[in-house]
């Protein structure tokens, strides 16, 4: 954890402390601070904006309710991601993980400001992630996207570190095998590499 992470965690803890005293401004600050991160994380689980918003609100609702009981065993971001993960799985069970009108209006999937390179990169990533299981997508997002360590991912997903390692390994092998072809490159493999 670098200095920036430590500073961010200190700020988050202060926000939780204020929230436990009923400070709604602190909740707003935390909400806005995590909205983008949670949105991107949950977008790996579902394409439905309504479900993503519902899960984000459930997550921050629980954070509001439980702010006073946060013991600080982990970073606040780890704690929040864990809540979001569990809420996301629950929402998937309730709503299913099928997108709503996702393919019917593809222009809504891509932000208007998306450059061509970004769009190409996003498509490349999307096709790769489609080959992964939900848990593998979550691990990839938490490690590469959010920047969590193996231990933190294990806390978030409430599973042993070995399980996280295995999910990360298999996800990387799958992506390594499909992404070069999706980019039009010839895969460069050693025969005995993973």
């Amino acid at each position: 954890m670098n200095d920036a992470d430590i500073d961010a965690d200190v700020t988050d803890r202060q926000l939780l402390q204020r929230m436990s005293a009923g400070d709604r401004v602190a909740l707003e600050v935390l909400y806005r601070g995590y909205h983008g991160r949670l949105c991107r994380f949950l977008a790996r689980l579902t394409r439905r904006p309504d479900v993503i918003e519902e899960v984000i609100n459930d997550c921050l609702w629980i954070a509001w309710q439980k702010a006073g009981t946060f013991h600080g065993d982990s970073r606040v971001s780890t704690w929040l991601m864990g809540i979001a993960y569990r809420c996301g799985l629950k929402a998937l069970r309730q709503h299913g993980d099928e997108p709503v009108e996702d393919d019917a209006r593809p222009e809504q999937r891509t932000p208007a400001h998306d450059l061509d390179d970004d769009r190409e990169l996003r498509d490349w990533l999307g096709k790769g992630l489609d080959r992964l299981s939900a848990d593998q997508r979550v691990v990839i997002e938490l490690v590469y996207g959010v920047g969590h360590t193996l231990d933190e991912v294990a806390v978030i997903m409430q599973c042993p570190v070995g399980t996280v390692k295995a999910r990360l390994f298999h996800a990387r092998v799958k992506l390594r095998n499909v992404l070069p072809a999706l980019a039009g490159d010839a895969p460069v493999h050693k025969e005995n590499l993973p």
């Binding site: 394409r47 609100n57 609702w61 990533l125 990839i140 590469y144 920047g147 460069v188 005995n192 993973p194």
Partner: protein, 214 residues
């Protein structure tokens, strides 16, 4: 997955360290080692380039549009909503549909309990002595002066009755499986020599006094 040579072990080490070097949580030594390995391994260089692209793609803003202001407004409105009341207890009599069913079930259970209690009381009060006797148990008391007698099969009933009458005896048990009767004096003052007279009587095959133990 097999890594037989040193170079392959290095490739495995490089493979494992890539995510942490990319996200900045690896030590400077790990980063330097990886860069040195990449400089001489084309396969790992390609893998690292792909990993970098993967991370770059994952850091793009989400392509699903969710308005933070709208969501926050809904959350704040939710905070102002009254707390949901806890569900009433499921077993309450009256005022709820289906309460008649609960009542009927309780009545059935009570009836069963009463029936089982009555049956238990009846069994408890009944004679609990078994219909058999063990060798360790004391034998049934025998009448004083009882004699076990085996009359001949050819002896008539009239002769048997006349004999009992003459000796003032009565049958208290028998006949058993071998045709033996147990007879005892009809009055406490039995005539002496009854046993000898029985033995001397024609038609009596056996006459033995009954003792306590077999």
């Amino acid at each position: 997955m097999t890594f037989s040579a040193n170079s392959d072990r290095d490739c495995l080490r490089a493979w494992e360290s890539m995510p942490w070097v990319l996200q900045g949580s690896a030590t400077p030594e790990q980063g330097e080692w990886l860069q040195a390995h990449l400089a001489q391994c084309a396969a790992c260089r390609a893998e690292y380039a792909q990993q970098s692209r993967l991370r770059q793609a994952l850091l793009l803003p989400p392509d699903v549009s969710v308005d933070a202001n709208v969501g926050l407004g809904r959350l704040l409105a939710r905070l102002d909503m009254p707390e949901p009341q806890p569900e009433p207890a499921p077993l309450r009599f009256g005022g709820r549909p289906g309460s008649w069913l609960n009542r009927a079930l309780v009545a059935v259970v009570l009836l069963q309990a009463l029936g089982i209690g009555g049956l238990g009381l009846k069994l408890w009060s009944a004679d609990s002595s078994p219909l058999y006797r063990t060798f360790s148990q004391a034998s049934a008391p025998t009448a004083a002066g009882a004699i076990r007698v085996v009359p001949d099969a050819a002896m008539s009933v009239a002769d048997w009755n006349a004999l009992l009458h003459a000796l003032k005896l009565k049958v208290v048990d028998g006949p058993n499986d071998v045709g033996a009767y147990t007879v005892a004096p009809a009055s406490p003052a039995s005539a002496p020599g009854t046993l000898q007279r029985l033995r001397a009587t024609r038609g009596i095959r056996l006459a033995e006094p009954v003792t306590g133990a077999p």
